[in-house]
Symmetry: C2
Subunit: 462 residues, 2 copies
């Protein structure tokens, strides 16, 4: 360790986006003679895109390995001592060491660290109900999960799929299974799919999904998974009904994987994620950093911590951590809550606060909802889109935007994401100089149409 | 007039985007009993999309009337006294009146005003060379121009077109004529097409246009248009060569149409456009407003006035003017120089300053150019794109972005347009919370990849 070798040792727990981005960036800044890097990963893969799994299952992506951004060998070639199938079982904060277990042999040993990065990610919520572990019931959190699901789909007769949950994973998996020719039923606890949207916008997603032939069952809790004589899943049961299923996908979200960190006494927030400072250091611990799906992030609009597991944040966290660990300086100031998704050709995007988020943090607001098109109305392929905008009462500050539409709708949310980051008012937004030409936008971009209407409403209500 | 009737009279010169938006917005705020509105238009059409003409000529838009957002009858139905084919020939500022002439009868009369809006637009640059007025040589500024060109295309045998100029109009017309099956040659005075980009990015457009089968002739001035025995165009001549042509399109830009305003002593800037204040009032004239293609606009990045004729600005100007004329309050703070265009499936976008713009106003900067893709690399339809970014030396403030790529490239410029408006640094941009999902973006959006690289370069050079 450092005392003896004259160089420091960085230990990384978790070999996916946050951990390995941190390791790679630290390596860029400091060579192996200055910094030893040891990384532990309990699974079979490193640096992969979990967000890509639905598209692999749906057949848009051919090969599992296309989802792997960097293999263990590639990491090792950059002088990162990556130990696969090795699970860290304890962090000894006082002793600055971690205990790791070889998953296959069971052998355990301690590894001292000078600096520690925690990137343990998330674990899927598994409902505590009878049959949840039956063959044919699948999560889609890891590449291993995806492979298991594909094996089931290849092996199993029948064409009926039930997706439990109607968030991002749920709707993306509904698309994947539609693309594979399944009859898809989505059972959703909420009143509308995509609870990251306000219900009035979720309603548009609901209607579009039904238009795609997906059966939506809202306001409904799954109570058990029913199995056949072969022990395999045969249906999903709710209080009121049974939905036959040859395969069941659990897409009911994830929680931060922080058991290890909690046991070590590290601080977690009310959503169960590790709490860090702006440099992504675990609060109160100068030598420990954390990032990715195991941490909470500051929402710059609400001013409160939030849990948003998302690959793009994990990569940014890793970049910031690696820069700081490597002797540079970087911060992660927070998020505005941007997300984009699609179900077949329906694009769904949101940023900032929903109505209930704003109310929860004491903000009063006006809302507007407008219809416009992705291109000039006369240009071929002009698709309708709906934009909802929230603006703070009196100040007119932008609080949030939700967009549902077809091609060209989703990424328009970036306009609002930047405006939120810059604390713009909707009045200021009306003057934004956005790209205009008939194939790209109406002469007033749909986001500006919403901003104009919101500015008028704020003014009239003041 | 106002003294007698107890109501004010607004006179509008020019019936297109700026003028009629102003009239419509003023009417929304003040009824006919408070405000009389008289508008003069010398042509046959009102409120049409000149930007749409190339797509009408190319066949993407079927009917001329699809380009008309609001017809004279629709304006009149909103109590706007619209006088078509009536040209204003003089503004008497001291006497607060305008003289107008009926284009067909030649009859002239004076109309007094309380408030005046000037929306006289632009006129195309017509090169002063032999043959420029020959049959078969066409501009594409107005709907009348577009109709005349379509008539020529329908009537004329031959399949060879020469486009003079390689700016927005030039490249869009090249696409239009390719779509109609013409062999297209573009003759361009500059070293690369799209001089609104730096030459290194223009080079990418050049290569893509050649890939589309368009013959590009750069660094070349057209010296004359050659005609046949029938008096019609037969070729375009340069110093070095002749290019046979059955039809010639002049796309060499426009200038502000300000003859009337100059004659009245109103202030024009160094680009020939009217100068206004932030409320779009003509400087020094409390009762006169101007907007659209006849004014100069403040570039918020350079701090200097610029001439950018663009429908989206004209509409915003009209909205601001109409609000102020109608007794409300609105301003047009300026532009950042955003523009987007396409040639077939090549998308071209820019915002902020080019290298030469930055140098001209005394800014020192770093530049980076990166390659990335529109979607996650493994997702079908991930298209390559090139992003160039300029950041100010020392401060790292974003100065400009240029993007050339395929589907999904162009509108990404809006991210930079908002960041420019908010005076963000490239370091701040690296933390932007942009929409991410594999069908929409790589985990680092291409604009963020450029921002990261630019931030590093600024830091290293400091």
């Amino acid at each position: 360790m450092s005392m003896h070798s004259g160089r420091e040792r960085l230990v990384v727990i978790g070999g996916d986006a946050a951990g390995m981005s941190a390791a790679s960036q630290a390596r860029r800044l400091r060579g192996p003679d200055e910094l030893e890097i040891v990384a532990f990963e309990r699974g079979h893969f490193t640096s992969y895109s979990a967000c890509g799994i639905p598209y692999w299952v749906g057949g848009d992506v051919d090969e599992r390995d296309q989802l792997v951004a960097r293999s263990p060998e590639e990491h090792r070639a950059r002088a990162i001592d990556l130990r696969m199938r090795t699970e860290v079982t304890e962090i000894d904060v006082a002793g600055k060491r971690v205990r790791a277990r070889d998953v296959d042999s069971g052998a355990e040993s301690w590894t001292p660290y000078d600096r520690l990065v925690i990137g343990t990610g998330a674990r899927p919520v598994r409902p505590d109900m009878p049959g949840a572990d039956a063959p044919g019931v699948h999560g889609v959190q890891t590449l291993d999960d995806g492979q298991a699901l594909l094996d089931t789909l290849a092996r199993t007769g029948g064409r009926r799929a039930v997706v439990v949950g109607a968030g991002y994973i749920g709707v993306e998996m509904a698309e994947a299974l539609i693309n594979r020719g399944y009859q898809v039923t989505v059972v959703n606890r909420g009143s509308e799919p995509m609870s990251t949207l306000d219900p009035d916008m979720g309603r548009l997603v609901h209607e579009a999904m039904e238009g795609l032939g997906i059966t939506m069952v809202n306001d409904t809790e799954v109570t058990k998974v029913l199995t056949g004589q072969d022990g395999r899943v045969r249906a999903v049961a709710t209080e009121a009904a049974e939905y036959p299923a040859d395969v069941v996908i659990l897409g009911i979200g994830v929680r931060p994987e922080t058991g290890l960190a909690r046991a070590a006494g590290l601080p977690v927030g009310r959503h169960g994620g590790l709490l860090t400072d702006l440099a992504m250091r675990v609060r109160g611990h100068v030598d420990i950093w954390a990032g990715g799906d195991c941490v909470e992030v500051l929402n710059l609009v609400s001013g409160q911590e939030q849990y948003i597991p998302l690959g793009t944040h994990a990569n940014k966290h890793g970049q910031v951590i690696g820069t700081n660990v490597g002797g540079g300086y970087a911060t992660f100031p927070g998020v505005v809550g941007t997300a984009v998704s699609k179900v077949c050709d329906l694009e769904i995007a949101r940023t900032g606060l929903r109505e209930k988020d704003a109310l929860r943090v004491g903000l009063q607001f006006e809302t507007v909802t407008i219809e416009s098109t992705s291109r000039a109305g006369y240009y071929p392929g002009a698709n309708p889109m709906t934009v909802k905008m929230l603006a703070e009462r009196r100040t007119g500050r932008l609080l949030g935007v939700q967009i549902v539409g077809r091609e060209g709708a989703g990424k328009r949310v970036d306009i609002a994401a930047v405006a939120l980051t810059a604390n713009m008012t909707v009045e200021q937004m009306t003057a934004l100089d956005l790209g205009y030409a008939p194939p790209f936008s109406p002469v007033w971009d749909p986001v500006l149409v919403a901003a104009r209407k919101a500015a008028t409403k704020v003014r009239d209500a003041r």
